[in-house]
């Protein structure tokens, strides 16, 4: 372990920490990047999509070096009922043009590569080091503790993830509250590329991203499926408070979803190779703590509860990278580290991160509409069942049949109330 004093110590080699350490090393700062996993990425789980603009912001063309999986050109929404599913498939080849908009990623690969880039840029990277405390002197954070060891620096960047024990220890914010997070579970399933291509209608380099609703026992939440190179990431994110109110363990709900008649054939022939879980910040702008800094400490990425979930777009890693870059720029610009915090907030504005968060400010209210997770997916399937059924009997008049499909699942008053709530949230 190096013993000199560092300009900055970055805790956590996820996208936020590595982006920050990379940008700092590039401007000649003496940086130490610490990671508790034995390799960067080995403690990390995410659904698996990175929006490319963030890496472009850090360094143009950097994404070309990254171990990215498939560029996403198919966006799919699946509404499930017990045995069937209605799927909307939006294909847009332009999403894959020039700098492709987004890629599926495997975090063990991406984060390890990213930490390698940080090291090549001149920073010191140490893995297998759990930071369990901060050193505070005269009201300032002046370093970190790992077991018996102490390391000193001008500023610490806490990129220690959604649970951010460091931010809590620094007194910046209280522990994560249950209503502010989702709990995600995920299986990585190895599947031959030719099967992925045929089943999802993509070429070798292209991929599909799918979200699913109606598969969570009515719990607020949704499923995701990302196609990778030679594998598929399949999972569900649940609202933990609602999950706690019913009887079935979330792992079991997830396993039933995997075996759903509309899902299982997509992954059949594959092999389950890993099972992971992680918390996800779910409140968007409202979930970001009031204080993301104090003298000697900046908080970035999931630790700052950055995240956007519109139901269609799920963003975390891009915001993490941008916040890491914002922190690095603030540290670079600050003559005195006492200025770094306010400069960091200014950079979060200048890089449009907070504007992005604010743009989707009320979206999380939509997920309070409980019928989205049960009745409405059923309604869609019932309506299509009516429209597509031919059995030789005299069919109901079309309007009557459709109204029956709606009435079976929700009252018109309830639908109107939900519509109003959705309108207010958007």
């Amino acid at each position: 372990m190096p013993e000199d004093k560092f300009d900055a110590i970055v805790v956590g080699a996820g996208p936020a920490g590595s982006a920050c350490a990379y940008a700092l090393a590039k401007v000649g700062k003496n940086v130490l990047l610490l990671e508790r996993g034995n390799t960067a990425g080995s403690k990390n789980v995410s659904g698996g999509r990175l929006y490319t603009y963030a890496l472009e912001l850090l360094e143009p063309d950097m994404y070309k070096r990254a171990p990215l999986q498939r560029k996403i050109v198919r966006e799919q929404i699946m509404l499930l009922n017990e045995r069937g599913a209605t799927t909307v498939d939006y294909y847009n080849p332009d999403f894959g043009k020039d700098v492709p908009q987004s890629y599926s990623v495997i975090r063990a690969e991406l984060d390890e590569w990213f930490a390698g880039e940080v090291e090549s840029a001149g920073a010191t990277v140490a893995s297998g080091v759990l930071v369990d405390g901060l050193i505070e002197e005269n009201g300032k954070i002046v370093g970190i503790r790992s077991g018996e060891e102490e390391m000193r620096c001008d500023i610490v960047v806490a990129a220690d993830g959604v649970n951010s024990l460091l931010g809590q220890k620094a007194g910046l914010f209280a522990d994560v509250r249950a209503h502010a997070v989702g709990v995600g579970v995920k299986e990585t399933i190895e599947l031959a590329d030719n099967l992925i291509n045929a089943r999802f209608g993509v070429s070798d380099s292209e991929g599909a991203a799918r979200i699913g609703i109606g598969c969570t026992d009515g719990i607020s939440g949704g499923a995701f499926l990302y196609t990778n190179k030679g594998s598929v990431s399949l999972g569900i994110v649940f609202n933990p408070e609602q999950a706690a109110k019913q009887q079935r363990p979330i792992q079991e709900i997830f396993q039933d979803f995997k075996m759903h008649p509309a899902i299982q054939p997509l992954i059949e022939g594959g092999t389950s190779v890993e099972y992971g879980a992680h918390l996800v910040p779910e409140l968007g702008y409202e979930g970001i703590p009031d204080r993301l800094y104090r003298e000697g400490l900046l908080v970035v990425g999931d630790a700052a509860q950055l995240g956007i979930n519109t139901g269609l777009i799920i963003r975390g890693m891009d915001l993490a990278i941008v916040s890491g870059l914002a922190a690095a720029r603030a540290i670079e610009k600050a003559g005195n580290m006492a200025d770094a915090g306010p400069l960091y907030m200014k950079q979060l504005e200048e890089l449009l991160l907070l504007a992005n968060q604010r743009a989707y400010k009320n979206f999380h209210n939509i997920f309070e509409i409980s019928r989205i997770f049960n009745e409405y997916p059923k309604l869609a399937n019932d309506a299509l069942q009516f429209l597509f059924t031919v059995d030789g009997k005299v069919p109901k008049p079309t309007l009557k049949g459709l109204l029956a499909a709606i009435g079976k699942n929700a009252s018109f008053g309830g639908i109107a109330a939900d519509g109003w709530k959705a309108y207010r949230s958007l």
């Binding site: 403690k43 759990l130 249950a178 709990v183 363990p249 039933d256 075996m259 890993e274 099972y275």
Partner: protein
Amino acid sequence: MTIKKMSPEELLALDKFSVDEGNPHILVDKAICAKCTARPCLVVCPARCYRLKDEQVNFEYAGCLECGTCRVMCTDKGVTSWNYPRSSFGVTFRCS
């Protein structure tokens, strides 16, 4: 069929763990859990580390995926201490 509904044990067997024997990173106070009626841990822990055994909440840290859900959801604060495993211990994800 290669794809099967898997038990928690089968799912955790896919993962690589290095268990810090005798040194749990999460401490649970059974006396508090005995009085808890909500027991959200039984359904929200993705690894099913919390199970009922003779009507008692039994916690096994070896298969912990280090997500934090139990700490966040624990209503009566029976989870008295929650930390990450010491350096080099715990779960290692290779393809997530």
